[in-house]
């Protein structure tokens, strides 16, 4: 059960260890040039997309709404953070490099700006039913694009250059862990259940005392924050921003990742974001057919498996270990259902 502390701490420990092991290994591989610059770049891009896709899953998979302006939030976060890092600097504080602190603060600021926009757009939009929400977020994305194109501080249509290449594996990994942990911990709480109940049946949810608007805004704001973070990472990865970076197509790419991975599966989003980022990078022939394949995938997956390839299934390190060691749990009479973990876990049976 959710209230089982011991199981929660055990799994958190396990997942923290796994995360640390992964982090140390990859950092070693980068340091030892086993992963060259090209692969490291792809890896960073993967992490950026994972952050964006997992956050979109919060609104799309768990809340069950269809926002089409995710790229708009990324754009807000990206530009905000880039404007901050190009205009300010922080001196080193002892062993902590000032530039890292600045990048962290700028990223958080980008997330907060996106989150505020998310709430502002959400307040009117979320009173409406699903399809209006889709169109209003799409409109919002376009308005952002027009704004960015027409104001000075973003460099207008010319774009904005001179952004420091601050995004590296460590930052990408840090924010990935943040978004995954946040989403997972939120979703498996009373607030997360409320969010999921909105997806299942709004009228029923309201009839048992769930404040629909509040939870829609919560999910929306959370998703927008991490979209902004992902935008900041993106900006400091490609170092040059132009309004076209965050178009409708980017929103759609995020959507494909969430849909393919599974609506309501964090690990699904991670896997889909990884595969869909690596494949077009590595296979050039695929890249030219990319959008056609994506659109076909969307239609086919929806027709044959509307909840996405993985549905709401989550990979779980703890469950895997239990399977490998065939540990027979002395299961008590009350069903011992789910406990919490950090990265890729849910449900043990």
């Amino acid at each position: 059960m959710s209230g089982n502390r011991r199981a929660y701490f055990k799994r958190t420990l396990l997942n923290t260890c796994l995360c640390l092991a992964f982090f140390v290994t990859v950092n070693y591989m980068i340091g030892a040039r086993i992963l060259n610059r090209y692969y490291t770049n792809i890896l960073n891009l993967v992490l950026i997309y994972v952050v964006a896709a997992v956050s979109l899953n919060l609104t799309c998979g768990y809340l069950g709404q269809l926002p089409l302006g995710h790229a708009g939030f990324m754009s807000l976060g990206g530009y905000t953070a880039a404007i901050i890092t190009t205009r300010f600097s922080i001196p080193d504080i002892g062993p902590i490099p000032g530039q890292a602190v600045l990048f962290f603060l700028a990223t958080v600021a980008g997330g907060i700006v996106a989150m505020i926009a998310g709430v502002l757009i959400g307040l009117p939009a979320l009173r409406l039913k699903g399809d209006y929400l889709a169109i209003i977020t799409l409109a919002f994305g376009e308005i952002i694009r027009v704004l960015v194109q027409n104001i000075k501080i973003t460099g207008g249509a010319m774009g904005m250059g001179g952004i420091g290449k601050y995004t590296n594996f460590s930052w990408g990994f840090f924010w990935t862990v943040m978004v995954v942990a946040f989403t997972f911990l939120l979703v498996n709480s009373r607030h997360g259940r409320a969010i999921k109940s909105v997806r299942e049946d709004e009228i029923a949810a309201e009839s048992v005392g769930i404040n629909l608007t509040y939870y829609k805004i919560v999910a929306f704001a959370g998703a927008a924050f991490f979209a902004g973070v992902s935008g900041s990472l993106f900006a400091h990865h490609i170092c040059y921003l132009e309004p076209g970076n965050f178009g409708y197509n980017m929103s759609i790419e995020m959507l494909v990742m969430v849909v393919l991975g599974g609506l309501g599966s964090i690990s699904g989003s991670i896997i889909a974001a990884t595969v869909l980022t690596i494949v077009p990078e590595v296979l050039q022939t695929f890249a030219t057919w990319k959008m056609i394949i994506y659109s076909l995938l969307l239609v086919v997956v929806m027709i044959f498996k509307p909840s996405g390839l993985m549905g709401d299934f989550e990979l779980s390190a703890a469950r895997l270990i239990r399977k490998i060691f065939r540990r027979k749990e002395d299961v008590p009479q009350l069903p011992e259902n789910y406990t919490e973990g950090e990265e890729t876990d849910e449900q043990e049976t």
Partner: protein
């Protein structure tokens, strides 16, 4: 002086928006789906008309070919992609619609490349009212749209098929119980909507003579905004919404900058949804509990 010109321009573009908005409106009314692919059907219609004219066919034949192609395309999309999902969650249906829209755009891109094609001039001339020139294109566009919308209104109000359409959009199950063939009615709605889109495509190309794969995307969305503004499910609503969007856009382009036109249109949408989600002429729909 200038204002009148902008207004005429606005009504011109607005009547095309209205035609497209009708398609959105009818489909939304009957299957409660924003047919994201509708804008791309316009694109398909434009390409068919372009190639037909390019091959030297007379205008009437080209328009007919375009209409036929779009009708078939619309009906096939409904049958293959939307029908299997009619009973499933709304979000799946929307995602499918987006998928179809992208598929059409990107297939066109693969087939015809992204380079715009120049649409030939099929309506020439114009005349003067005082010292103000009004092009024939404007007259034809407004006249054709007006006729089509009037015809559609009569069709929906008086014919059996039209009544069936209204019945299905009112209550699908009840309509089925009354012996209405729901599948056929939905197919017919898509057919009419797509046919109107084809004509809108030709009219659009007469004013903006460029054909390219993504031409329908933004145009379609703006037409949808017009449908929402006027009131989803209402034919006069689509007309009012279309004209309003057209005029607003023309005025923005005239007095502000064409850069801001899209932002203004979308702000319209957000304001409408804030103040009166059912649109100017729409009526409030209560979800059944």
């Amino acid at each position: 002086m200038n204002l009148i010109n902008h207004l005429i321009n606005g009504i011109h573009v607005g009547s095309i928006y209205a035609l497209v908005a009708l398609g959105y409106n009818m489909v939304y009314g009957i299957v409660k789906l924003i047919n994201f692919a509708h804008g791309d059907i316009i694109m398909a219609g434009a390409y068919v008309a372009f190639f037909a004219l390019d091959a030297g066919m007379p205008t009437v034949v080209a328009v007919a070919a375009s209409v036929v192609f779009c009708v078939v395309l619309g009906v096939v999309i409904e049958k293959v992609a939307y029908r299997p999902l009619r009973k499933s969650a709304k979000i799946s249906l929307l995602i499918t619609a987006i998928g179809i829209s992208l598929l059409l755009e990107n297939t066109a891109q693969k087939l015809f490349s992204a380079t715009p094609r120049l649409f030939p001039k099929i309506i020439e001339g114009g005349f003067y009212v005082g010292d103000r020139q009004i092009s024939m294109t404007t007259i034809v566009t407004i006249a054709v749209s007006g006729l089509l919308m009037a015809g559609l209104t009569v069709f929906v109000k008086t014919t059996n098929a039209g009544k069936a359409m209204r019945a299905v959009s009112e209550d699908t199950e009840a309509a089925q119980l009354m012996g209405i063939n729901v599948d056929r009615t939905i197919s017919m709605t898509f057919a009419i909507g797509s046919g109107l889109a084809a004509i809108a495509a030709v009219l659009y190309c007469c004013s903006y003579p460029q054909v390219y794969p993504t031409m329908g995307a933004l145009f379609g969305i703006k037409a949808f905004v017009a449908a929402v503004l006027g009131g989803i499910g209402s034919i006069p609503g689509a007309v009012v919404g279309g004209l309003m969007i057209g005029i607003a856009e023309a005025l923005t382009k005239g007095y502000l900058s064409s850069m801001w036109a899209d932002a203004i249109v979308f702000s319209f949408l957000i304001i409408t949804l804030l103040l009166k989600p059912s649109g100017i002429l729409g009526r409030k729909v209560v979800e059944k509990v």
